[in-house]
Subunit: 476 residues, 4 copies
């Protein structure tokens, strides 16, 4: 929910790969501007690049660049993006350097005209498909899976009657997670992989249709939530209205990534029937039940731990408060302190509210532990600030396995929970208590969902065959 996530917690947070958005206008709306606000509401899903493609009676115009939504688009640019359909994208990327080419939506010419594609997720067999295509003479301009998907669409289109049929057929060869918004000269489409790992929902605003990764973007536009795109479904919106076709491999119930509810999604979104905010509060309540401590104050690490902290406070009866002030002004251009300055204690982002923690036994709630380094720093500062005890509650089970479905959970060898027992972790981090949400708690909380869920990063139980950990790198 905040810019800083990618900027200075980079080493110790897991990131979502993308947010997607689409708009099909039947009311004379300014589609580029509404897509701008839609992407702005989805900014937490990706802060490294942003893009909008519009379709003006078959003519496509696209603007995209590195940066936050308000950095990439100016009034002038939005004024030039006229049309009756739009596709938008925000992206998080682990790839460094000047990769402007990798910004989405991708806009390509193919045998039937032009296509614009925005993609959230990750293909398990992306590298394999890319390889096969190259062996047949394909050239690639980017290093992203979206270009592989685009190629498959172009090839399937040759033997299909329609682009939506091509999308359905492409699903047979695309393995992994993908929630896609696709725009052809006459249609706006949404597609979700047969497992439904990543969210994608349909909204309506007067007579116009919206596709969005999360419902918060619908709420921000004052649009109505219709339903979620189902696993393996292709939703087609055109001048005939909305209709749907489905891939045969489609699972009955989505296996939504449970980390959407734990951390990725905005608290005001509802995903697969459950309020993210309420889910997080429940996680906090479970932690309070499983790890009761004597303490004077409960607070969350802003912003990822705030909602679960409220649940913990409610369940435990320990007063809720603030432990930190977080500086909100960081943007792309912020100059990080040097290592030398950090050693001089220059600490620009989170500041302990000393008057609040001094002499107190505190419960601090956060969403997860990756490498453990940030946690350790924060706890040290709390103790330097006068906290007598720090009880750390984590609103997820320990990360034990890599993710192949669109998040950047790193290889096992850097995951703290792979290397150490919980008690060892507690000691290394310097916490007086360290509690993780249990798999059972997840299971119980997940009953609020209208579908199944993927918890492979905790359990190692992947819904589909995945490559060996040793080979993980080649799939990135």
């Amino acid at each position: 929910m905040s810019t800083e996530v990618t900027l200075d917690c980079r080493m110790d947070k897991v990131h979502e790969e993308c947010g997607v958005f689409g708009f099909y206008d039947n009311d004379g709306f300014d589609v580029a501007r509404l897509t701008y606000y839609g992407l702005y509401a989805l900014q937490h899903r990706g802060q490294e690049s942003a893009g909008i493609a519009v379709n003006d009676d078959g003519e496509f115009l696209c603007h995209k660049d590195l940066g936050l939504v308000p950095e990439v688009f100016s009034d002038l640019i939005l004024n030039n993006l006229k049309g009756t359909m739009a596709v938008g994208h925000v992206r998080y990327s682990t790839k460094g350097g000047n990769m402007r080419e990798n910004a989405q939506p991708l806009v390509n010419k193919y045998v039937k005209g032009t296509l614009a594609l925005a993609h959230n997720g990750n293909l398990i067999n992306g590298a394999k498909l890319r390889n096969e295509l190259e062996k047949n003479g394909a050239i690639f301009h980017t290093t992203i899976d979206s270009e592989v998907i685009m190629y498959k669409l172009a090839q399937e289109r040759i033997r299909s009657h329609s682009i939506e049929q091509a999308m359905l057929r492409a699903m047979d060869s695309l393995q992994g997670a993908y929630s896609i918004v696709l725009m052809s000269p006459r249609k706006l489409m949404g597609a979700r992989d047969p497992y439904g790992f990543r969210p994608l929902c349909i909204g309506k605003m007067k007579n116009s249709y919206i596709l969005s990764s999360e419902t918060c973007a619908l709420e921000n536009l004052g649009a109505e939530f219709i339903r979620e795109v189902e696993p393996g479904e292709v939703v087609v919106i055109d001048h005939n209205g909305i209709r749907s076709i489905k891939n045969e491999q489609a699972q009955k119930r989505a296996k939504i990534c449970i980390f959407e509810h734990i951390y990725f999604a905005r608290p005001d979104s509802e995903i697969q029937g459950a309020s993210v905010y309420e889910m997080r509060k429940l996680m906090g309540r479970h932690l309070a039940k499983d790890f009761p401590v004597e303490a004077d104050l409960v607070f969350g690490v802003p912003d990822s731990g705030l909602c679960a902290a409220i649940g913990y406070a409610e369940e435990s009866g320990i007063p809720y408060g603030y432990g930190f002030v977080k500086n909100r002004y960081i943007g792309r251009t912020f100059i990080q302190p040097t290592q030398a300055q950090r050693e001089q204690s220059v600490n620009i982002k989170l500041n302990v509210v000393k008057s609040a923690v001094r002499g107190k036994r505190v419960v601090m709630v956060d969403d997860s532990i990756v490498r453990g380094t940030t946690c350790a720093n924060i706890i040290r500062e709390l103790k330097e600030g006068g906290a007598k005890e720090v009880h750390l509650m984590i609103s997820s089970p320990p990360f034990m396995w890599p993710c192949y479905f669109g998040t950047d959970i790193p290889s096992r060898d850097v995951l703290m929970a792979v290397q150490y027992s919980v008690e060892e972790m507690r000691q290394k981090i310097g916490a007086d208590t360290l509690g993780f949400l249990s798999m059972e708690a997840i299971k119980e909380i997940a009953q609020n969902l209208n579908c199944d869920y993927c918890d492979a990063c905790f359990s190692g139980k992947y819904a589909v065959p995945v490559p060996n950990e040793a080979n993980k790198m080649e799939f990135e």
Copy 2:
């Protein structure tokens, strides 16, 4: 504490005018970069321009421009700002247009070389002094009081032995609020008006000295808080260390602006002996005592009402939670929705967490009411989101009088509390309860301060003679 304050609450929030910072190096620190982090910690005090002047053995270099601290300074620029002293400034301004000239610090040549000046506050007799100077042939490049102060310094310097004496003498003619950081070729100085309306404190980092509007900037740098600059005091830092002289009109106890504790300052700062965070919690507690209601949920309007809401929740025993999600990504370049889009319910900044408020009786805490329009909108949205009752608690008394000391409380004719009774306000805003903090509560809470306070905006009791309201405009 957040960028957005100036951007979309512009019509319904009161603003601080500025933050000031100074650094005198005795340890080989990178003064420009540390001033950058200091200003970054003070960013909440002014988001419209930022500037740093450094002094390299008598040679002054200055960079300043419109924008946030990270927007104004790049790595390259900071690298060029070499020196052993620095003065920094962040500014909020009610003046529109391209006023790059008004950015601070001001750097001027005068009879004794160069001076750099950063100023927080407002002169009551600024226009009068400007007039007198012009009648004697003065020319002005800016429209800010700081240039008037600079002129007075230049004139007093002619008949003084030192720049600090000149500063002391200038105090005799400067009426109003000013906390100043001043840099001459060999000295860094801090000065505070004889009433001490605005904060200014002294810090130390190894053997180097810091001046800062608030202590949070010291904490961010890992510096030690020494003490506050006293009313009417001029603190001089040079190669002999730190020393102090005092104006004869100086009050014994500062009359700190109480709105610093209510809203302006960062919660993690301590001002005049009191933690801002604790003061705000106390305000919430008082509201809970004075306006007890039956309710299911307490929350604050982010970010201005959050701390007081915690106090209210604690005192009342009603659960604390979230009512809104606030989008944090807004920067200077964000494109606001048009009026037409707003009417289509495009609502990009605050979003109600419907699952949290649905069917609930809620207590919402905010810091103040100016025109009342934003409050009314927020309450309407809460009710549309399903809240059964909305009890609004304001952690300050009603604004009844203009401020002449450095905030932009508007003229009386637009202040809602001047035009309506509290009951009328409640009805217009659509709240089920409307409670304001009482003057008695302020008085009691203020016992935590080590000084007096100014509450003229609530009481109309000004510490110094002020012009008629009718004439207010000429003082702006």
Copy 3:
């Protein structure tokens, strides 16, 4: 040779499409920076985008954008472009809008790694090839022929032993004009179509090799001119040195575009054995012989007519001088006068030197007439400035036919010479004499070349089959 060409003569000048450059380092040179200077020397061949790709031991980095060479590259960007090979490109484009995608070099992944390609010229069968590729599932990111060439290379590479063999084979299907610089992980290559329409030469600097559209870039770098790449030749530079293979369809003698000597190339370049400057002077001399007039002053239209004007003055004995001052400061961002302002006589680029032309009979030399509008304006201004007679000499025959080989000579229906006789043109333009260089003169002058030439835009005699004029649009 000047920025303005593309900016305000846009309607009445013919443009070259591109300049290409390559560098293979064996001496530890800064390849990006030398390519920057090389492109800067070729800037006259394209002012709309610029790009450099470097190869650092197989890793490719590319930076390109819309703008002039000095606008696109900063010191910081050049510092990041480290490597031992580089490919550069400057581009002129008739396509409007934000076409950053079309900037070159193209950098693509394919079955054998990465390729970077810079292209000058135009394919006759570009649209046809694109179509065929799309029918087999290809997707296109750009609208330029270079991407078609890249695809053909990728496909031919599958059945070839080397990238240079693939290039040679691709020549069999690529029809039209192309001078290419190509970079693979280990090789830098230059290729020229079997007719050699566009120039491409080889240079050497110590032990390092250079490929460049023109020799002026070699001179600017202090490099030695080795020879021209021959028609249908692929030159390969790698750690074994330089070697060459040749397509079987290669013509013995290049059919260089004669308009390179008339207008496109820089006067200080030598192309196909002839100095551009001397060729232009000869054209002027021929005009003086064929169209002798009584006059007091000869001058050229800056900068395109200056060299030929010197030849005319020499041959005729009429004094050479200046007729205009040309404002040199125009850049990308220059704001053109509005139509209303132009009618108020606001005239910002060329200004008549009235003292020079007042009362004089003048001979004005220019390189060509497209639509005739600019000529007419200039002559009117000369006469308003006091010129008694204006004798217009054009150092080329009349444009009668479109070009399919890389220049933007427009369709026949806008060419003045297609619509009117020379006498009618003279009257419409308002000249007292109008002389065009004859085809015979071209033939005689071209004896200085070491090859044949293409004059199809004058003669309609195309070296290869071209589409009907009616179909021209599809080839653009």
Copy 4:
């Protein structure tokens, strides 16, 4: 006349300090845009900063920054500069660093409202006046003389009836060269020092008035030249039309800086009754008479020697041609070759046309020699390019004395002509002949002027007392 002058001949060219422009509208013209074109025509007089101030019924708006006119102003900015009067300025500055503050016009508030001032020239007693002002309490924001003039105006205004009277009185204390355009709330004024060192002329466009450093700006706007502002004259334009008052010290005949005709002004301007182009041709003719040589080719160093070269060619009968091609694309951001690269012969700006000079005896004409280094390089390159002999003709006498009137001729100790005899210079430069224009020739040519002239940089005869050379630095 070209951007490059300030960029790479920096060490060996003399620079004009500024160009000024003013517009008083009576016809509904877009004053900002016309001032933009006016400044664009004067760009050769200063390339380091540009600014425009407009006056909208007494409200002043100003935009100025470092850069060329097209770099400083965008369409958006010009659209915001609405008004009925404008003052514009382009500036050359020898002062390095980020001196945005020194850009003009200066806009200041003073006792009678607002003033905008643009200044071309240099005060001899600027430092002295600045000192006196500071002793009386003045503060300075800039280091330019214009601020001193502004102060004097503000002080004189107190005891004058009008701003024009104040200007006239200020002249009594301002010593040196100044051509000023001044804008008060109701008047546009032009003023020229009592000696008239720098040009300033009056134009008319329909019923609107223009003030401009040179006539070329009038021609570019299609305006009519009225007359020159006279020495010591203040011209006042307001709703009553145009009127004039004169300082008592005013000389009858201006002492125009003769270097305006030699180098500074644009060839298409007329200054003090003489065409700059014709004057330069005459200089070339005199050189041909005084230094006849046997040669095959005459050319000028672009652009400063081109006009005189034409005169030399005409008088001598030796053919005129090109010796160099000059790359025109250099802008502010061009990255100069490093010293190492220069030693590798990277030579990006002037390139010898080898085919033109090979085996030839050439006459090269340039405007002046300052340090002699550039000349020597150019001659070396010509000889390396095959020139058999190089006869260098300089269209001015040798620089022997500093200038105190607005050009940056350096101190005597770096002037080549101060250190060496002409024969020694010839040898050092490597020329076969070195001819300088004689003082007698200047005198004869100057008969075309309608006034006297200042040739102090050649003769040492200053029209007014100047400081000792030893003290020159303090006057800069």
